[in-house]
Symmetry: C3
Subunit: 130 residues, 3 copies
């Protein structure tokens, strides 16, 4: 389990190194799973301009406060819709204790309703080596 | 396997309780997989206003009948595109017979070309307890 | 591992038959995982008009060169955002050596920054038969 403290309403946080620590010595499949409904987990490049581009684009496609029904209850319908489009988990093969990420791939936690303290489950399903 | 009967063209159906039944006594990873190409499976909150907001937003982003090539064959190109954006499966850790869902998380089946009878596969990959 | 040669900037390539070959004789779960950050893997129908519709729609939602910060470094911010929305992997149950795909489901590789030579990992996590 990883604990994350976000500092903004929308923020992308690179959690790759923390997942790497947890798969050391393992072999199989890792699931990185967010138990929240206004966050997502994706795999992409962590270049700072790109992270801002991702947030700008999804804010444009799903703007905050655009007359959503759920906003009568809680002011974050957009956060839920954004999270749904990106998905709340990723799976990554693990071999000889290493994540099989490509050269530019990083594991990114997407906060859409921060700032908050969040948790992410990192579950490893071990298999014997091929 | 779960059977679902949708009643509208676009509809979101909460299937959490049915998946819960199937993982009782198990430990590992569950895959909830839709074998259809005009439906999706996501994890999010099941508040009724939010479910309408999700449908309204995706209908706005990918409107029906907007001159799609596939509509010459079958009148549901938008349904396929919507399904592709949300994804056709989710994975959820299972521990001691319980889905490791967060407080507000529910497993949601998204119908984009109903009403129809649909199937969802629920496959459990068991591991020994940690 | 599958090698793919894309011929256009945006292109969808059906890799179902190549994944089928790799799961023969296996039982369990297959993960089809792209290690790239400007490609995606989805499951949907491979009708040629629909494949063009998917590309047209995502190009409309996330147009190339729309003032992205990442474009100062590399001219492909849109490719990364597109890849993030669709996701870089899929999971599919495998039983008795067969992918449990629905009638119309195909495994589709989405190129968003081609033409290039790409790789896709096909990892099988075997379980005993139910």
């Amino acid at each position: 389990m990883i604990e994350i403290r976000s500092r903004k309403r929308e923020e992308i946080i690179d959690i790759t190194d923390r997942v790497k620590e947890l798969v050391k010595g393992k072999n199989g499949l890792v699931v990185v799973y967010s138990p929240h409904t206004t966050t997502a987990v994706i795999i992409n490049e962590a270049e700072s301009g790109l992270l801002q581009d991702i947030i700008s684009k999804i804010n444009e496609l799903v703007p905050k406060g655009a007359g959503y029904l759920h906003d009568r209850i809680d002011d974050n319908a957009d956060s839920h819709i954004k999270a749904s489009l990106f998905g709340n988990s990723v799976v990554i093969p693990v071999e000889d204790g290493r994540l099989m990420l490509g050269t530019w791939q990083r594991i990114l936690f997407l906060e859409f309703d921060g700032p908050r303290t969040r948790r992410v489950f990192v579950k490893i399903y071990e298999t014997k080596k091929d």
